[in-house]
Symmetry: C2
Amino acid sequence: MVQMDGMVDEIISLAPIEKQTLHDQVASQLRDLIIEGVLEPGSRIDETALVDRLGVSRTPFREALRTLAAEGLVMIRPSKGTVVRRLQREEVYSMLEVLAEIERLGGRLACERAKPAEISELLNIHDRMIALYEARDRLPYYKLNQLFHSRVAEVSRNATLIEVQANIQSRLKRIRFVGNHKPKDWADAVADHEEMAKALRAGDGPRLGDVMAKHLMRTWDRVEDSL
Amino acid sequence: MVQMDGMVDEIISLAPIEKQTLHDQVASQLRDLIIEGVLEPGSRIDETALVDRLGVSRTPFREALRTLAAEGLVMIRPSKGTVVRRLQREEVYSMLEVLAEIERLGGRLACERAKPAEISELLNIHDRMIALYEARDRLPYYKLNQLFHSRVAEVSRNATLIEVQANIQSRLKRIRFVGNHKPKDWADAVADHEEMAKALRAGDGPRLGDVMAKHLMRTWDRVEDSL
DNA sequence: TATTTGTATTTTGTATACAACATTTTTCCC
DNA sequence: GGGAAAAATGTTGTATACAAAATACAAATA
């Protein structure tokens, strides 16, 4: 019997049984719609229309809205409907200011705590980013870029940092995505990333942290006029 | 008419018309119950019982739960009920590690951006804290302490920082409240606060930030064994 | 006695129904 | 025609009802 269990474990590989409730699915969908800009900042969220379109009832839909509200993506005004939060300049700046310090810490801890294999993985992502830059392949570059920053946070092995980083990054996603893209800006960003790779290879945490923080404050200059 | 409005403004002082929906009230109540420890970490939240006790229906109650889940106070396990999140040692450490950097930034910005009146207010809170320490009046001291840190965040005028600080502080509230209180620890904490006041008076942002960060990392030592 | 299997009960998830509120349109009066 | 009051419409908030799980319990079998 014990032996059989062992066999089963090995064969079926013990799937993590992710149960997806409706409100979780709705929350994901809404998040995507907001980030992609289908639901525009400042616009009211038409409950009945969306409920209809998604084919769910209002109950799970509204629960999803509460989640997004707590994440800062929408604003619920009691009795007056929910609107997609429009970010003011000030708010975006405040996010970058905080994110800079979060990633500074993340970079430092990553160097202290990452296993060699994880460092390689990060450098691998970096290399692929460079290749995509050289091909001027914007969208995949953008996605890998996000991944790089998330992975640095992850190997810092600080659960709170991971969470906060993910939250702020998600709120900024849209802004950064639609922001105007001058070739020079892109080149500068890539240069920053080369510096990060260098610091990573040297295992120099404080340096990596500094570069990442500086990188984010420069991001402000890059997105500023698109606000 | 315009004149009358002006009068009304002055007299009624233009209250922000806080409309409180049921789920907001429920969320606050639950937050308090969790922080006060009435709902113990790890315990399941009995929906029917609490709904009964609060005298509301399940709909607003469940919406409130989703909010608390997004805030990290509870965990919703699909189909298996909601439990009050129990913080592992690691998580608490990770929160303090992040909070330290958040408050380091907050302290620095506060000195740069606070108006003189706001500095005075902070120093005033500090003085009252000292008085309470001398009277060994724990609870009010504890509350003023929270207020001090929140106010520093507020005068930093960074909305994201304020939000993140509040969120982490709220999650840690219980831990810090029940943590064992050696007289020496308290004295040390007060010494830190004296340093903060000094930095504040000198308008030395970097220094204030450093002290606050150090203070929080020392908090770890103070709460560590109660976990 | 221990384990399993089937059944009952409780609890959770979702849909619907109703009530309260906000908004828009219409009506009425000046 | 302009503006205020009132009715109609739509939208949001809350309660309840039903369906689908999960859990607890009991009987049956080895």
